[in-house]
């Protein structure tokens, strides 16, 4: 990227070229940083594929659902309900409930994006628990270019730093690929899975959440406290409520508690 540093007098075409390179750089970075998500999705999707076949769906239906829906919790629940003989309307309603948490996440995520409706429509499809957190907490060094898409804007008296859409697209794309490939593998190898395969791979997603949380929590009691409260509340609520509701409520309450207690400014935000 060094050769693009000084473009102040460059002709328009070269500048356009450089902007395209920059987009590509961010997209590639997104692909790389999203790789752990894809690795974590693969076994989960594989398990979904196996369960869906067992519930009586065809391989084509199973994969089509992964392509169209792209939501782990929602798909597992749908397959569970389906094998219990639930009607389509019940499955759709249950999915809406489980997916309400995306509403909260996307509302938060929108603070870090400055995109047009088409970009929003494409990026929105790829919002999952994992891609949301990874994107939101992305720590991007700017490539050595002027006019970076990481623009800054005042919101109230705080500053928001925007994410480049191509980075987000990179993270989402590779995660989506991992999810679909995993589903495909699940439909292929449904009968020939090594036992105990799941647990080792299953920890990957959680290890990723932890690795995302630790640096932020280490720098701020507020962030650590909010995360701990979120976990404790979610565990408590999930004893009484389905996971989707428990998570929406826990996230809402823990973040609200954080605002009330450390409202004047949580360190590191």
């Amino acid at each position: 990227m060094e050769s693009y540093t000084n473009l102040s007098g460059a002709p328009a075409k070269a500048r356009k070229n450089a902007a395209a390179w920059e987009q590509l750089w961010y997209f590639t970075k997104g692909l790389k940083q999203g790789l752990p998500i894809a690795l974590g999705y693969f076994p989960s999707a594989l398990a979904y594929g196996v369960m869906a076949l067992a519930a009586g769906l065809s391989a084509r239906q199973t994969i089509l659902i992964s392509v169209l829906v792209f939501s782990g919790a929602g798909q597992f629940m749908a397959v569970n309900l389906l094998s219990g003989g639930a009607p389509p309307l019940a499955i759709i309603t249950a999915n809406l409930v489980v997916n309400l948490r995306y509403f909260v996440m996307s509302a938060s995520f929108s603070r870090r994006l400055n995109v047009n409706w088409l970009q929003a429509a494409i990026i929105g499809f790829g919002v999952t628990d994992e891609t949301f957190v990874m994107n939101y907490l992305a720590d991007l060094e700017k490539p050595a270019l002027s006019g970076s898409p990481l623009g800054e804007r005042g919101t109230g008296n705080e500053q928001a730093v925007y994410l480049p859409p191509s980075y987000v697209l990179g993270v989402n794309s590779i995660s989506y690929a991992g999810w679909i490939l995993g589903t495909y593998a699940g439909t292929l190898f449904a009968d020939a899975l090594p036992p105990g395969f799941g647990a080792g791979m299953g920890i990957i997603l959680y290890a990723m959440f932890i690795a995302l949380l630790i640096p932020a929590a280490a720098g701020s009691w507020g962030i650590g406290g909010v995360a701990a409260a979120g976990g404790a509340l979610c565990w408590l609520l999930s004893q009484y409520l389905p996971f989707g509701w428990a998570m929406v409520l826990a996230t809402t309450l823990a973040a609200a508690g954080g605002v009330i207690i450390w409202g004047e400014g949580v360190d590191g935000l």
Partner: protein, 90 residues
Amino acid sequence: MGMAFVTYLPRTLPLLLGSEVRLPLWLERWLKLVPYAALGALIFPGILTVDPNRPWIGILGGIAAAAAAWKWKNFVIALAAAFLVVYILS
């Protein structure tokens, strides 16, 4: 197909509306804390289900990930540490 719709809608609607709207300060602050609260809620009850019959395996894996992330500040090492611990134990 209804499922695809009810998944897509809540994901995208706030993104379509959100970036234009100016919000009161307390709401901005709340939205900034949401990811951390969500991380906590995603980690905690879920990690017990890594091996549903032996929840402590998930916890040990999580501790390994946290320790590695703390010490080396490196993503890949943290994932590898957690994977190894869980793989060896199960």
